[in-house]
């Protein structure tokens, strides 16, 4: 069934494009240490707010244009005509751990020190924006996936049990979801984050945010799953299983829940952007991911500084473009998936 779905999906242009784009983005996030020329914390105080370095073709090599700092007080740089340094491919550089496990020190491209390569410019302390964007992708993108996995799991279990068991389980679960849906989300988010942050080290804030976002988000899924289970329960094949004497758990997990999967997949895909935007908003406010880790929202939050606008450091806004691209891709994929699953299928409004 999954293969069928995939085939139908990829036959649609929107589905194909968005799926490719997402694969690309996640690939980049996964292989960030290898793809980036340096590490996200490496800074160079002599080269703050460096503009993106141009790539030129010189003497049969792809080279990086060199720049001179002409005015440190405005961070203005000028290209040095004719001076460029060749990119070296697959060379050794700063050691890293791929997937957090495999040690390595090969980078796709680097330049010989001290010349910098800033594909997307540098930030306030001369860190490479391109590198930070790639590493930040790891956090921003995985927050969506982990969050959706958590909510789907919670929603499926609680909604499924409530719908199938009924009685006081149902009442309790529904009161809980009503409660969660009646809480002004942003306020609870602010309060939760304030209460929990000091109990986590700063690099675990990442997990904290996912947990907060999913703890608030599962109620909607649970209610829909419950509704689906309620209607499925009366279907002949379930009644037949009941008569055949299958145990309730088997019926729930073998027959009822698998039938809600198509809904779940579509709903999950369409709710990933919510997590990505949620993390970005929190980090933007300075309440999410903390330095020295990087995430797209955090990078945008740091770009709020007025001098960045007035001095035209536009490259610091690229994380915003990355967020937009990702969200569009997920929305397109979700719509395409929905059409592939059932063109008449309508999700409840957000």
């Amino acid at each position: 069934m999954a293969a069928d779905l995939l085939r139908t999906l990829l036959r649609r242009p929107a589905g194909l494009i968005s799926a490719t784009l997402l694969c690309l983005l996640y690939g980049m996030a996964l292989f960030a240490p290898f793809l980036s020329p340096t590490i996200p914390s490496a800074q160079n105080l002599q080269r703050t707010y460096h503009p993106p370095t141009a790539l030129v073709w010189q003497k049969g090599h792809l080279c990086v244009q060199l720049y001179k700092l002409i005015d440190p007080s405005t961070a203005s740089y000028q290209a040095l005509p004719g001076q460029a340094t060749p990119l070296s491919w697959f060379s050794r550089g700063t050691p890293y751990k791929l997937f957090g496990l495999i040690p390595g020190d090969r980078h796709l491209f680097t330049v010989s020190t001290p010349d910098p390569v800033y594909l997307l410019g540098s930030d306030a302390t001369g860190r490479d924006v391109f590198t930070r964007l790639l590493y930040g992708a790891g956090i921003s993108l995985s927050i969506g996936l982990i969050g959706v996995a958590l909510t789907s799991f919670l929603g499926l279990t609680i909604g499924g049990l409530a719908g199938y068991l009924g009685g006081w389980t149902d009442t309790l679960a529904m009161r809980l979801t009503e409660f969660l849906m009646a809480v002004p989300g942003l306020y609870l988010l602010l309060a939760l984050r304030a209460a929990l942050s000091s109990r986590f080290p700063s690099d675990a804030t990442f997990l904290l945010i996912v947990v907060i976002l999913s703890a608030l988000g599962w109620a909607g899924t649970a209610r829909v799953v419950r509704g689906l289970v309620l209607s499925l329960r009366e279907r002949p094949f379930i009644l037949a299983s009941n008569i055949l004497g299958q145990r309730p758990w088997t019926i729930l997990f073998r027959h009822l829940l698998p039938n809600t999967f198509s809904y779940l997949i579509v709903a999950a895909t369409l709710s990933v952007p919510g997590y990505i935007l949620g993390e970005a908003a929190l980090s933007f406010l300075g309440l999410g991911i903390q330095e020295p880790a990087s995430s797209w929202g955090l990078m945008l939050g740091q770009a709020q500084d007025i001098k960045i606008f007035m001095l035209n450091f536009w490259w610091l806004l690229t994380p915003g473009v990355a967020i937009i691209l990702t969200v569009i891709a997920f929305n397109l994929l979700g719509d395409a998936l929905r059409d592939a699953v059932d063109p008449r299928f309508r999700l409840p409004g957000k």
Binding site: G286, D305, M310
Partner: protein
């Protein structure tokens, strides 16, 4: 069709709005008081509106409640004190008192009030108002900050009314910053606030709600009185028709008719308002100077360098030998041994590239800092403190002397073989500080020291520093400047902000004991040279022992529209401290 309204609005909105004043108001001119104070500046012309902006919001207009600089700044505009501090000369000048006598015991001060001064409602100002103010401050029903500033070792000053224009204040001990402290106390109108004082609601008087609904109830002796307050939008002050200063030609000050303060969200928005020509004056951070300069000719302003700011930034190590309730030491013993070793701290100090910090983080607009006061505090700064220029070789030598060794893995180890590694805590809200922390980490890597950075909420950080003490190193800043008495909580070992080891019962080291003695001595003499000598020594000890490793201080910049005359830019504090004397030949902004 109601739906069309916003569209229409959008269209109309694109057309610049013609702003025509409803009615032109003329200023009332009351007769000048007998005790008029004549400004010594060049006489100017009346009229005009001075516009500035401030980040944040006043939380109150009641001086007994005010805890923040924003509120206090606004209160200072309409409430005057017995004396005023000249921001440029840092000397005390007459305010609502024309002169004062100091008795030979150096504890009794007799103030002679300015005759004929009226509150902005026309009621005469007298000694009763002064006595009432001190009564209110010392009343235990109203806990407030001034009550503590106006006492020595927990003992209050006594105040008595001699006659309608004379009051006498007596301090229980000799109290060095007496005049400066009294200069900060805005005098309250007895006839307006006495009923609130009696029924216990004084702290709720003059709150932001009153300011909005009945602005004229906030009676003024200062140059301005409140005209209107629109939360999150603006505060408008107008010239106080009963102000007690005039110029040489007998024209009552202030020259400007209105003082409008735009209330904005943060420093960013404030800077932007100035850079786009909307406001007349603004303090600028060094990283913004360059681009703002580009707009100078378009909007007719200039940017001035005030020199080093009074703000200090520093790193310190937790030297607290105590332990928490479960018996676990705040700092692991082997690390405590490093942190309490002066050579270790000095080595760290030599390892910091302060010039690099200035260049990279402050855009070259700042200077290295070696002691607790910056040159901005002209009156108290000691230039002869020990300096620790960037010198990794010296650092390594000091570390070797203290028994540290560098292994083949380029990591520093102590005698027992522990790798030297610590976590530096700082608050995340301050971007420049965060940049400095990352730069510090890189500097330390060159010495083989691993620094982990932890960025915390300000609240969490303060909790660690002041309550739970479970941290290794911290990075913060303090606003310096002002009288040494303000630094007692930092320098004396009993102090709350003696961050490396606060609230000590007895001083842990001989040099801390010496500082305690000096801080106490300087407080109990009125003689400036003696006080300066004591405080110089405090600064010297602080730099020798480096419990705080000072980093850099940014230069302070101010932008100001060229149309203003009589500007005198002080090294410290508000740029337009003499607002009453400012005037402009160009009335339209």
């Amino acid at each position: 069709m109601p739906g069309c309204v916003p569209l229409l609005l959008c269209l109309i909105g694109l057309v610049p709005i013609a702003c025509t004043p409803k009615n032109k108001e003329t200023r009332m001119d009351h007769p000048l008081p007998a005790g008029i104070d004549t400004a010594r500046t060049e006489p100017g012309r009346r009229g005009g509106v001075f516009i500035d902006s401030t980040p944040g919001e006043p939380s109150t207009f009641n001086p007994l409640v005010s805890e923040d600089a924003t509120s206090s700044g606004f209160i200072g505009l309409f409430l005057d004190s017995l004396v005023r501090n000249n921001a440029v000369t840092q000397e005390v000048e007459p305010g609502l008192a024309t002169r004062w006598d100091i008795a030979p015991d150096n504890k009794t001060f007799t103030f002679h009030l300015r005759p004929g001064v009226l509150w902005s409602d026309g009621h005469p100002f007298s000694a009763d108002d002064v006595v009432f103010t001190f009564q209110a401050i010392y009343d235990s029903r109203y806990p407030n900050r001034a009550a503590f500033d106006l006492s020595v070792d927990g003992k209050k000053f006594t105040i008595e009314k001699i006659d309608d224009l004379t009051v006498r204040l007596t301090t229980p001990e000799i109290y060095a910053p007496f005049l400066e402290t009294v200069g900060g106390v805005g005098l309250l109108p007895k006839h307006e606030l006495e009923s609130a004082f009696r029924d216990g609601s004084l702290l709720k008087a003059w709150n932001v709600s009153v300011a909005q609904k009945e602005p004229h109830r906030l009676l003024a002796t200062g140059a301005f009185r409140l005209r209107s307050y629109q939360p999150a939008e603006r505060i408008v002050f107008e010239a106080n028709p009963h102000y007690w200063r005039a110029d040489a030609q007998g024209v009552r000050l202030p020259y400007v008719d209105y003082l409008v303060t735009k209330l904005v969200k943060d420093a960013n928005a404030s800077t932007l308002a100035f850079a786009t020509g909307q406001t007349d004056a603004e303090g600028l951070s060094p990283d913004n100077v360059a681009w703002i300069d580009r707009y100078a000719s378009r909007y007719g302003f200039s940017v001035f360098n005030r020199g080093p700011s009074p703000n200090t930034g520093f790193i310190w190590f937790n030297q607290n030998p105590g332990h928490d309730s479960s018996g676990k030491p705040f700092v692991p013993p082997h690390k405590l041994a490093w942190f309490t070793d002066r050579r270790f701290r000095q080595a760290i100090s030599h390892g910091i590239d302060r010039d690099g910090l200035v260049r990279g983080v402050l855009f070259g607009r700042g200077q290295p800092l070696w002691g607790p006061e910056t040159p901005a505090n002209k009156k108290w700064y000691n230039p002869n403190v020990t300096q620790y220029p960037y010198n990794p070789a010296r650092s390594r030598a000091l570390l070797a002397e203290a028994g540290f060794t560098i292994g083949s893995d380029q990591k520093l180890r102590d005698r027992a073989g522990n790798v030297v590694e610590f976590t530096l805590n700082t608050n995340q809200e301050n971007q420049l500080r965060a940049n400095m922390a990352t730069a510090f980490k890189e500097n330390m890597r060159d010495l083989g020291i691993t620094v982990n950075l932890s960025f915390l909420d300000f609240g969490t950080l303060v909790g660690k520093i002041q309550d739970s003490y479970d941290y290794e190193a911290g990075m913060l800043g303090l606003t310096g400047g002002g009288d040494p008495a303000g630094g007692i909580s930092v320098f004396s070992s009993k102090g709350r902000l003696h961050q490396w080891y606060p609230n000590q019962k007895t001083p842990a080291t001989p040099w801390e004991a010496r500082i305690d003695q000096l801080m106490s001595d300087q407080l109990h003499t009125l003689d400036y040279p003696t006080r300066k000598k004591y405080f110089d020594e405090v600064q010297k000890i602080m730099s020798d022992e480096t419990p705080y490793i000072y980093l850099v201080t940014a230069n302070a910049y101010v932008g100001l529209k060229d149309r203003w005359k009589n500007i005198r830019i002080p090294p410290l504090g508000s740029l337009v401290w003499n607002l009453d004397e400012l005037w402009t030949p160009l009335l339209t902004p």
